[in-house]
Assembly symmetry: C2
């Protein structure tokens, strides 16, 4: 089994996509994150769902978690507006966390993909063919495949 066979279609955003749209894509698809491409359609990095979530939380709550309970629904309107104004570029992790871009070529083996995920702590890797993202592979998809060969033989 090679990466091309494991790959599934995945929503792609670019650096100028607003965070509200990105967050909705993650929520609607129940995804661990999104692939971020640059203006030329080349893979740039992964935006994990947890990173988007971080920007939905007001600074005063991150400073003092006890304040979370006093947050009321009225304030969620303001949250939407904040997210709509921000772009993916604004909320990406710091550049030094993006050094290991989780990308594999279509011929990568299951084990190569697994080793990369573990090494870079990414919930998904992009499969890239000739500079274009053709899909992505998640941890759960990989486990499913790693263990499926056993069922075939028994």
């Amino acid at each position: 089994v090679r990466a091309a066979e494991l790959s599934e279609p995945f929503p792609i955003v670019d650096l100028d996509t607003d965070v509200l749209s990105a967050a909705r894509a993650i929520g609607a698809g129940r995804l661990p994150g999104l692939i971020v491409c640059d203006g030329d359609g080349r893979p740039h990095t992964i935006l994990p769902g947890s990173q988007v979530l971080r920007f939905t939380i007001p600074a005063y709550v991150l400073d003092d978690p006890a304040l979370a309970r006093v947050y009321d629904d009225a304030r969620s309107d303001r949250l939407m507006k904040d997210l709509a104004r921000r772009t993916v570029r604004d909320v990406l992790p710091a550049p030094h966390d993006r050094d290991h871009l989780p990308v594999v070529d279509p011929d990568a083996t299951v084990l190569e993909v697994a080793a990369l995920m573990v090494r870079v702590h990414s919930p998904l890797v992009a499969v890239v063919d000739d500079g274009r993202v053709i899909g992505a592979i998640t941890v759960s998809r990989l486990l499913e495949t790693l263990l499926a060969s056993d069922a075939d033989e028994s």
Copy 2:
């Protein structure tokens, strides 16, 4: 919206569950991880899918990723047997990483759940009522809910 409404059913394993079964539950449900309970059914910790994946990779590949491509399918049989012999207890992260058990009570607000996820870097939190796990909440489920209120109002 409170944690009880966000909560979804989630597979639960205990410390003596074999890793092969745990990995299959993650793959079958496309889950970010599993909830681990102790013998009394009390929540113990979260086993992330990435941690299970780590144990599917032979040590020589983690030491030298270039060796991943030479791994062949014949060896995946041995991998199955290794995973079937190991228990969840054997593959859990070191205890110091488990200090912040991601658990909320059913009355926790969306923001409390979000703040906890960001703080402990967990892909999910368990919802616990009176010492019993009633379900779990994932990052994507939370984003879906945080942003749904906007759609209701527009």
